[in-house]
């Protein structure tokens, strides 16, 4: 098996029949959640499992761009235990950094253990619903990523984008139809989500994440200049 660059900076793929994607381990020798480590030409890669990470699912579903790249400054809302965060940390590398926000002390505990080994992660225990509560702990960023299961997740996304995302920066939101409204059809919810996001941002890409994640979609959008 050989590992080669993919079309996204910082993301790699194998040449096998069944496509697998990888990121280059920022902390060689140390897996984060039991993922496979692969050595190739003296470099170490971590397999990125699309059933465990929505960003990986988005790539597997044929994303045109992922907007996050080496050196990006990232605000990550809904970091949880840091599965996806660890891959984003691999991608942005030594020159980038990630503010990883989550509300639950239990998962921020795991995030702290992760951040101890990865110098580009800042864990923040705060409610993404109230950006004013952590405005004194973060900076402006190039990329906003959000994966929170809240009924008002779109409002949260827009609030954070309006305060922390630089002009021309990209925001990506994983939408879980179930947590917005269990009784409505996911497709309807996705349409509504696109509509409300497009009022403030320019939508660049939209993909449903099945079969990796049921009733989820990913929306990539760009902040308009000078707003």
């Amino acid at each position: 098996m050989q590992i080669k660059n993919s079309k996204f900076f910082g993301v790699f793929e194998s040449d096998e029949k069944k496509r697998r994607i990888f990121t280059e381990n920022l902390v060689p020798g140390r897996p984060v959640y039991g993922e496979q480590l692969v050595r190739f030409l003296g470099r170490e890669f971590r397999e990125w499992d699309p059933t465990r990470s929505k960003l990986a699912a988005f790539i597997m579903k044929g994303a045109d761009q992922i907007a996050v790249r080496p050196g990006s400054r990232v605000l990550y809302l809904g970091a949880a235990s840091g599965t996806t965060v660890s891959h984003v940390s691999d991608i942005v590398g030594k020159d980038g950094f990630i503010f990883a926000v989550d509300f639950a002390p239990r998962v921020v505990r795991d995030l702290i253990f992760l951040a101890e080994h990865r110098p580009n992660i800042v864990p923040i225990l705060a409610d993404a619903n109230h950006p004013e509560n952590y405005a004194h702990m973060v900076t402006l960023v190039d990329f906003l990523y959000q994966d929170v299961a809240q009924p008002n997740q779109i409002e949260i996304f827009l609030k954070n984008a309006s305060l922390f995302l630089r002009d021309g920066g990209f925001g990506m939101i994983a939408i879980k139809a179930r947590s917005i409204d269990v009784t409505r059809k996911p497709k309807e919810i996705f349409e509504l989500a696109k509509e409300s996001i497009s009022k403030k941002m320019t939508i660049v890409d939209f993909r449903e994440l099945g079969p990796f994640e049921k009733d989820h979609c990913m929306i990539l959008s760009k902040r308009r200049e000078g707003r």
Binding site: R73, D95, F97, F99, P105, V108, R109, L111, I112, A115, E116, P119, I121, V122, P123, I124, L125, P131, E132, N133, A135, H136, M137, V138, T139, L140, V141, S162, L163, F164, R166, V182, T183
Partner: protein
């Protein structure tokens, strides 16, 4: 016009083009963080204000001091942009790690311990049940009559342990004969199951004390066991106190509730509170009504326990 922007790593004096004129680094990020969150000036703000009286404070959070400040988003964004460099990032990282560690240690409250204990008890019960069934099968080869005679698992296990001598078997027993080592391994397994039952009793006694001590009203309203399970299902006493009683009523019946919401099937009448004596003893027709009453009482009690923390007899 100059600005002062306060952060957990210290305060920045910025000129009108948002260039950093001066950075007053925080000696104690925990303290600076507390001050900013509670809407007060940090020591660094005060130092910068002495240096530059006219500067306008920039705060996203409300400032509870008797002075003007700005929360203008455009200005805040410019300040946030000025700090977005690798040097400040590593300071933010250091400060955030400290703040998070402190916050996590503070987040350990009695309800979290109770949730773990309730779940431990429920898992112990499940294990005890499972192992008791295995013991019955195993012991049934040796002395099937006892298994028939005693239906309750716990009493059965106790009997097996106390009657460990071969004499216990009647003349006409259907059981086979076991060697000494076969019998002793059977008995040692029984001892283990007995100790699990003992552990459940012990844990329940401690849980009852903890519930009475920390949540006296909830305990008085629905009993310690259901009270603790409600806290566990809600995810904490705050969540329970903020929950409408209609939701408390169906806690533990999520499967039926979502089936109802999705398919329009009949809604569940009650969740975990159905274990309460008042509901068990209510007639079938009155069960729903009793559940509604009990849930609202539990809700009120949880609110009192969370917001007031004072004993209120009924």
């Amino acid at each position: 016009m100059n600005y002062i922007f306060s952060t957990c790593i210290g305060s920045f004096l910025l000129d009108e083009n948002f260039r950093i004129l001066k950075f007053e680094r925080s000696q104690d990020p925990l303290k600076s963080n507390e001050k900013i969150i509670s809407g007060h000036l940090t020591d660094e703000d005060i130092a910068l204000l002495k240096y530059e009286h006219e500067a306008v404070l920039l705060r996203a959070e409300k400032l509870n001091e008797n002075m003007g400040y700005s929360s203008d988003k455009k200005l805040l964004r410019k300040a946030l942009s000025a700090l977005s460099t690798p040097e400040y990032f590593s300071l933010f990282r250091e400060a955030s790690l400290k703040i998070c560690r402190r916050a996590i240690s503070k987040s350990v409250t009695p309800d979290l311990l109770i949730i773990q204990q309730v779940n431990a008890i429920s898992e112990l019960s499940k294990s005890a049940n499972l192992l008791s069934k295995r013991l019955r099968e195993w012991y049934g080869l040796y002395n099937p009559e006892l298994s028939e005679e005693v239906e309750d698992h716990e009493r059965f296990v106790l009997k097996v342990c106390s009657l460990s001598k071969e004499e216990v078997r009647g003349e006409s027993s259907m059981g086979g004969s076991l060697s000494v080592s076969q019998l002793s391994s059977l008995i040692s397994f029984a001892e283990l199951v007995r100790s699990i039952f003992e552990e459940i009793r012990r844990q329940e006694a401690i849980l009852e004390e903890e519930m009475k001590k920390n949540y006296p009203n909830l305990t008085a309203a629905v009993g310690f066991s259901i009270g603790a399970k409600l806290i566990s299902l809600a995810g904490g006493i705050r969540q329970l106190a903020e929950m409408p009683s209609s939701k408390i009523q169906v806690l533990g019946a999520e499967k039926a509730l979502f089936r109802h919401l999705k398919t329009g099937a009949r809604p569940p009448k009650y969740g975990i509170i159905c274990q309460h004596q008042e509901i068990i003893s209510a007639s079938d027709k009155e069960k729903g009504k009793a559940a509604r009453k009990l849930a609202s009482r539990a809700g009120i009690a949880a609110k009192i326990d969370y917001f007031r923390k004072v004993q209120n007899a009924d």
